[in-house]
Each structure stands twice: as structure tokens, then as C-alpha cells.
Symmetry: C2
């Protein structure tokens, strides 16, 4: 029971961090174990902690996914000091109903034909492992907090980081 | 000559983008080709386009570097729509003079003993390949710019992206 509560809290935290940063560097490995990253906007984090994206079915990314479905999603927001590294496996899904559920007009900036675009599809990333760093404060603030802690003889709390238990 | 000018401009652009974002997700591959990423603050981009970092000589990252010196640096700032993916090779360097040159008091937040810390060392990443995306506008702005362009019958400029020629 305690485990389920922990898991639910972690999925919520994961969702909050991910959707706050929004755009990740979606990272795949090619045949020669070279990394390929490209920015992608997150359409949704569902109740199980899976991340969903819209993409173009025929893009290079999809070719790489079909060879090896291991991916890393890197969410990074230096201004807010939020960093999340997500390991997962992904699949391409063509599901009209789910697409309608996740579609927002802002996506027209990338897919001008909208839901009528025959190349439009969804990528679902099942998260296996998520590690986050959230310092809550900027580098300078962290520095001054540390100095203040030293002056008061207190232990400096560096911020929060850890593995999220998503399943 | 034109090539050199192009290269100098690209190194300057690379430096500007990297130092603006500052913190990257420093990504290494372990023995099983699993990716490991952790946030790291960039100490310097030098005149040749190499990126320098301070680190703890005995950290896990250094172990991974010593097995396979290929790394990826992922700089990502969703608020400013700047994304840079850097492929490179890295080496650990213990160079007292260079450390003094790159040291700033803010680093005390991570290395309280400063330059006297015997575990302190430098990591130099020689960049082999850098690809950037810089949309200059937020997602919402991009969307409205696109709509405005359509209304005026103009081609919508999505932003700037491309490979940087650093060497």
C-alpha cells in the first residue's frame, strides 16, 4: 500500500517536472552506437508515467526507433535548475482517438495539416527509469544559500535529486 | 580564407549559445551502451571551440570517460528555445594554471575546498560535431508568427538550425 502511494506521488512529480520543462532532447542510438538528439515537445504524461509525442512517421527518428527502441529523454531547464534523465523504450502508435485527445492548436506550428496529415503519428515512451535533479534555486542563489548556511553553522541543503519510482 | 572566417564565426556562435545556456547534460555511455547523463556547468569554451568543465576526479563520470572517451553534451533551454547537441571526445586534465584561470567563486557551491581540493580536476571536451536549433521565439510566438505569415501570404520562417563548422 505504502509502495503504491509512493509510486503515485512519483508519477505526479515526474509529470509535473516533465510538463513544466515541456521540450526534451529526444535521444536515440544509431547502428554505430552514435547518439542522435533532437528537441521534441511532450504531448502528455499519462497516468502510468508514459510520455507521448507527436511526430512525422517518416522522419529519421522513426527509422532509428525501429532498429533499437531504447531512447533517452533529457529534460533540462537551467533557469529553474530542473534536470531529468528518462530511460525508456518507445513504440510508434497510430491511434486516431488518442491523437484527437492529445491534439492542441499550437501543434499546427509543426504539423500545418493538423490531424488530417497522413504522416502524423504518436510515439509512446514507456519510462523504465527516471532520475531528476531539482535545485529549486539558481547557481548564484545556491552559492549564497551555502554561504549563509556556513555562517549560521547549518548544513547546506544542496537541493533535491533522486530516482523516481514509476512502476 | 572564407573557410577560416566561417569557422571563426561558428566558434563564436557556438560559444555564445553554450555559455548562455551554461549547464549541459553531460552524457556518457557505459560498458553496456547505456546512456548516463548528469547536469554540469560549463567553465569555458576556448578559442578552438573546446568545452571545459571542473569535476571531481573520482566521480563515476570519470570512470566512464576512461573506458570510452566519446561524450555528448546536450544544452537545452526551452524558455529561449535554444538546443545544442555536441558530440566530442574528452580527456581529464590536471593543470593548476588552467584551473586558476577558469576558477570563479561560484564554483565553491560544488567544491567548497576550492582550488585546494586534491580531487579537483578539469575535463576538456574536444568538439567534433555540433548541431543547434535556435527558434528565438517561444512555441506560442512561433505559432502566431506562423499564422501571421499565412495570413500575409508569406513563407513562415521556423527559426535557425544547422551544423556548426568548428574545425
Amino acid at each position: 500500500m505504502e509502495n503504491i502511494i509512493h509510486q503515485e506521488e512519483d508519477v505526479k512529480k515526474f509529470k509535473d517536472l516533465i510538463m513544466y520543462v515541456d521540450v526534451c532532447m529526444f535521444t536515440t542510438l544509431d547502428d554505430n552506437y552514435k547518439l542522435h538528439s533532437r528537441p521534441m515537445s511532450t504531448a502528455q504524461v499519462d497516468g502510468e508515467g508514459n510520455a507521448w509525442f507527436f511526430t512525422n512517421e517518416f522522419s529519421e527518428k522513426i527509422n532509428e526507433i525501429s532498429r533499437d527502441n531504447a531512447v533517452n529523454l533529457i529534460y533540462s531547464d537551467p533557469a529553474k535548475n530542473i534536470y531529468v534523465n528518462v530511460k525508456g523504450t518507445c513504440t510508434m502508435i497510430i491511434d486516431r482517438k488518442k491523437m484527437e485527445e492529445l491534439w492542441t492548436p499550437v501543434l499546427k506550428a509543426w504539423f500545418p495539416d493538423g490531424l488530417d496529415d497522413p504522416k502524423l503519428c504518436l510515439v509512446k515512451v514507456v519510462t523504465e527509469d527516471a532520475y531528476f535533479w531539482n535545485n529549486k534555486a539558481s547557481k548564484m542563489t545556491a552559492y549564497f544559500n551555502m554561504l549563509a548556511a556556513i555562517e549560521k553553522g547549518e548544513k547546506y541543503e544542496e537541493g533535491e535529486s533522486g530516482k523516481l519510482q514509476l512502476s
